[in-house]
Symmetry: D2
């Protein structure tokens, strides 16, 4: 099973039925809150094959509960048999499915029907969780909720990409951003860590995805990690120093990609009267030099680090650094680097996902769960890079020190940024 | 100007203001009637670059009146300046516009806003037509209405294509088809026509598009034309005789296209338990051998004609044949070959567009109108084939003997069929 | 059969065996002369799928004789059975064949082996023609020689394209161009022709390809045709007037093609220190304003004509004009407009192929020959435009008033230019 | 510098001038030996962008000496200035160059001219090495020779791919394979290794490429590694068990690739009368079950390992295993698993490159050399997988325990196979 939870050590609110129900209600309601501003029209297309329509996210997350929990129950009647085809994402074991690049052509069911579908699944799941659910049901429900939280972030990434494709850059929400003040995030130096063997991977307390284990020893020589995230201001310096036009700074594949796609700034940046602005979920706004740079690919992050005379951290280094600072985040529309008390490292969580130099591979001893649910993570362990931390739009409570996010090195539409590392000098 | 109307010979109902107003109201209302069953979700995507979203058709036809008639008026305030970018189809002279393959990404304005746009344009146009419109306004209004009628057919073609892309083939409408009986349309022989010079092109009475003129003499040697359209039953014989797998029957480009795309039947035909059915605007239904074949490309029509020992008619031949039989049609969801009194030729109008062997070229002396409106027809006169007649979903009153429709030879999503011709033997 | 020759009217040198043999030897030797400067390396690749390697042309033209004449003879032993696969061009009836875009991967047989193949076919053909060949053999031999002459021109077009792909633009030959003087080809006015019915198509005297018949009446209203070809100097004016950047001058497909491919001058033109030069078979050389423009597509020719306030002639118009001036040409490396005695029309033959406004379609009553040889012309009669005349690199003796050449409207690598026409004013 | 050699520890034959010269002559002569059976025609095209023409390999390896050693010398005159453009592979710092997919269009210089180029460079290099070369020259010469050895293998891979594209599968050589006997390579069990920290990377004795260092400690938990390579016979079992059609065995990207490209066997395998054969440098021959499987991608190797209930080794595991068994190989046309005395692990070197589960990343502390030569390895460290060992066509003497080869996970044209690993159970 892709996510697991040691019954012995799981927190009490996940072990008892009322808590599972409560958690279910909270997570599902948050999806509804995030999608409530999105019209049926906005919910329907996809701007590129990587992105899915909002309507699809809403249905797929419900299908996950239906397919993996409800469908196996003797008395369950599927809401609509066709949804198994339409809303399966990539589970080969479940059977044929809508081709990913054609999710935007699913105009039926319409948004209202998807709402009825969600209600149907909610009603069944609440019945189940209110009763005396088995440990397996509880585990799968927890997995389904974590899955839904991933899609909460994805749907925001995807709607942002879609709305940006409209030349007039309409906003997803006019809601004010809860961030009011701005921090002084001048480069605040380095922290030295590592040296010797460290335990890496989930420690077994609470939920984790299968790719976060097995916990294992790793050799992490001493290294420095930057206390701050790389900022827009620093990125403008990189651009001013011709960083996008110097092949010596780039990986070969990155250079080819940047040339082919004409990259000369992060995704969503546009120039208006000679001044840079960036498109956000609340519309276009001026670049703020103090904020963390966001929407850069691995290739760009790697080139920036080389330009800065540094490198990206490995995922083990990042985890060693984060282990000392448990997550403390707040949901926001824009990435902002937040202090974590008086600890030196800022912005580990809740700002931007941070590219690491580690390709996404299995931990020693990793084995996916049998059956369809085993396709959750393992089969993607090639051609991608690990990102660590979490982003401002990651649902609060979904972060973990051991969390392994992953994207292809050319991806820019996630909320991706970076922090630097260097060898002990 | 792409459409023109001789003031001297125009029928009275188009020359006086009340009639223009009435006509405006009728045509615009028909668009609303056709689009009323289409949900906001169905209105948004496009299934391929050739097709446009319903919402886009609704807005674009309104933009046409705004751009070419209202915008030039001193007191007119555009409904939304951005629509000039979003809803211009291909008029280079008007300026930059939404790329055609990305029309399906225009989620805003939403469907309700487009309705308000239509109302706004209607209100202004009705004011104008109720007053004392100039001859130029009247001509442009007539052009705009004929343009809208073209889009009425297009939007049905396009929504059909979109809904078919849904694996479960939902129907556009559950409305009963008005056709109840079926005609015996066994092959009913040939009619001999032609021989000598004939006048081809619009005769100046009433409206026509610019590509229908100038009227000119053409040499049309004697020929035979089939009284009936080619039927599904005949097409099944072609298929049974391996027609899709014999390169000697095909044009080289057609053969390459058929191989690449894996054609083995008309578009929308699928096999269920060994029996052929076809997707229609009212859903899947069994193939009816007596009905005209529909949704075949020029390449297929040409191959069929060769297989049948005949050929396709030229557009001049078709026009010579149709001149003797003025259009008499009825709007239907499915093509059905109708008799036209006791005249020998059936199905000239109101069933399926009929491929001709004529590439789409200008008539001798053709010159497009100056300005943006001159881009209406002339710039497409290469790489396409002429089709004649009209289809079951062509708005009644939109047919003409001289009407020249045109599509690329691989196009199959229009309601396209064929009738045969042969040289005098 | 694609080419035919009325026995009654054929010139004596084609009807008797010695002449057929002599003709065979002459044509085959000219191929050898043209290909002698081409190294094995130059003979091997193809620069694009439209082009074929020299080695392939040499083998394919030999295969044509083998397949259509020798293979049917009881005592004939094929040189190598594999060549039927490798050197069949597009004859579906002959069987599977090397994919066209992969002709450049046929490294074996090598060039020397192809020479042996040519010798083998020559030996057999000469035996046959020295004997008492049947009329069918004679007809097919004539077709094969005309076919080889077409490939003589093609191989020069193709080697030019290949060598141009080398950044350093090596020359095909350092031989001096036989043209020494230059004509004053200022625009020399128009000739009025046409009006009424004209006989179009081959008149039956001597050889022609099947697509040049049947001879038939065509209505050709009065028109003016320009006495001169359009020149480089005139093309520079078109460019200076922003002709490549004004969509109103272009067909829609042409505009899209020009934008996608970044056209801003004819093919093979490059700018060096602000001055235009053009790549030729003898290397780069400065643009000569007086010479006919060459290597323009139909789209460009059409746009130029519109810019000039004229149009391209139809193929019937062109033939009416040429009928009065029988071909008189000389083989050259560069197009040069030559006078034809004191006749007004210059450059009809022997300079550049001239785009017509006529799509390539069958003449009334056209029917291809049965069997593989019937694939020669008919199956290409869609999506292409007719060109008339001949080019400087067309083998002398291969021109005819009724000759119909054809290319796709985007093609620029043939030696293509234009002359203008206009309606009677 | 991408390759380095500790002067202190280098073996005597590389430190003294005569040895450097001798080594130069030996390596260069081996290229000539390998390319001598390749005709000018075979030397010219490339079968896909990944592959280069033989002629290009011959010139490029010479250019490497010219660019990095000779060009910097005051008295050196380049053989042809244009070669810097034509034969630079990917060194951005050197300047613009022939696009990789168009290397097959370089028909000039011809093969004979490339031979003269090689002679010119040889003459200059021999003069230089016969004199009193600096340490830098010696290091660069060693790098250049190792570079040339890499291209000796590449050119065989590439000519094999090209000749296979010929439908008749001509052989590169008819020379007998030196392998006469066949080993019994039934699965011969596992060897347990690892447990604790190991030194990984080049130990500084003799030449290595920059990517093989810095030498560093790595934690390698105990593991089992298979004594034998996976064989054709085992691969046939995988195929018989539907291994190519079970998505649960595959990485997601691998599954998509296999479906798109229609993989159902290793590259170069074809079926003839129901029996599998494989194309080799000596032509088609029957599959030998006892031989190591070759020409499988990482995706296939990974799927096979999963099917076998095992996994691929990491590159550190592989190196730990190989450290105990220094390379002992023989050049052959076909991979054959050889015993290495009585040591348990067979086929580590000299059979097939072995895919590891390790993505290609820099070792801790890795930094490329400054300047163009620094582009040798570092910029490719993303999106590729490490392979270890060497192949039958790897030039003898070019193997090393620390050698890191790398290819994209879909690559099949290198001589790639696999051995299995598993966790300590």
């Amino acid at each position: 099973m892709p996510g697991s939870m040691s019954t012995a050590t799981a927190p009490s609110e996940l072990r008892t039925e009322p808590s599972a129900l409560e958690r279910y209600e909270t997570v599902r309601a948050f999806t509804d809150e995030l999608t409530s501003p999105i019209s049926p029209e906005d919910q329907t297309p996809q701007s590129m094959p990587d992105c899915s329509p909002t309507k699809w996210h809403r249905a797929h997350t419900s299908w996950f509960f239906e397919e993996f929990i409800l469908a196996g129950r003797a008395d369950y009647r599927p809401f609509d048999d066709r949804f198994r085809f339409l809303f399966n994402s990539y589970y080969e074991a479940v059977g044929p499915r809508q081709p990913r690049p054609e999710r935007g052509l699913i105009t039926r069911p319409d948004a209202a029907e998807v709402t009825r579908y969600r209600d149907h699944v909610d009603s069944e799941m609440k019945d189940l969780l209110s009763g005396n659910p088995t440990a397996e049901v509880l585990e799968l429900a927890t997995l389904g909720l974590n899955h839904e939280q991933q899609h909460q972030e994805l749907l925001l990434m995807d709607i942002k990409n879609l709305l940006f494709s409209n030349r007039f850059h309409p906003a997803y929400t006019v809601a004010d951003d809860p961030v009011t003040g701005r921090l002084d995030i001048e480069h605040t130096g380095w922290t030295r860590l590592g040296g010797g063997l460290h335990l890496i991977g989930h420690d077994g307390r609470g939920f984790c995805f299968d790719n976060e284990g097995p916990r294992h020893e790793a050799l992490v020589p001493a290294f420095d990690i930057s206390n701050s995230l790389v900022t827009n201001g620093q990125w403008l310096e990189f651009m001013a120093d011709d960083g996008y036009h110097r092949p010596d700074l780039w990986l070969s594949d990155g250079w080819a990609t940047a040339q082919t796609l004409g990259w000369d700034a992060p995704l969503y940046w546009t120039q208006e009267d000679g001044r840079w602005q960036t498109y956000t979920l609340t519309g276009d706004r001026s670049i703020t030099p103090e904020e963390p740079v966001c929407h850069v690919s691995y290739y760009e992050a790697d080139a920036f680090a080389r330009w800065a005379g540094a490198r990206l951290p490995t995922e083990a280094e990042w985890e060693v650094a984060a282990t000392t600072q448990p997550p403390a985040t707040q949901f926001r529309w824009h990435p902002a680097e937040t202090a974590n008390g008086d600890r030196p490292l800022r912005g580990l969580f809740g700002s931007v996902w941070q590219w690491t130099s580690s390709p996404y591979t299995p931990y020693p001893g990793f084995a996916p769960a049998p059956g369809a649910v085993g396709e959750y993570n393992g089969k993607f362990m090639v051609n991608q890079q690990v990102l660590r931390g979490s982003a401002c739009i990651t649902p609060p409570g979904h972060e973990r020190v051991s969390y392994r996010n992953f994207y292809h090195p050319h991806s820019r539409w996630p909320f991706t940024g970076l922090r630097l590392a260097r060898d002990e000098s």
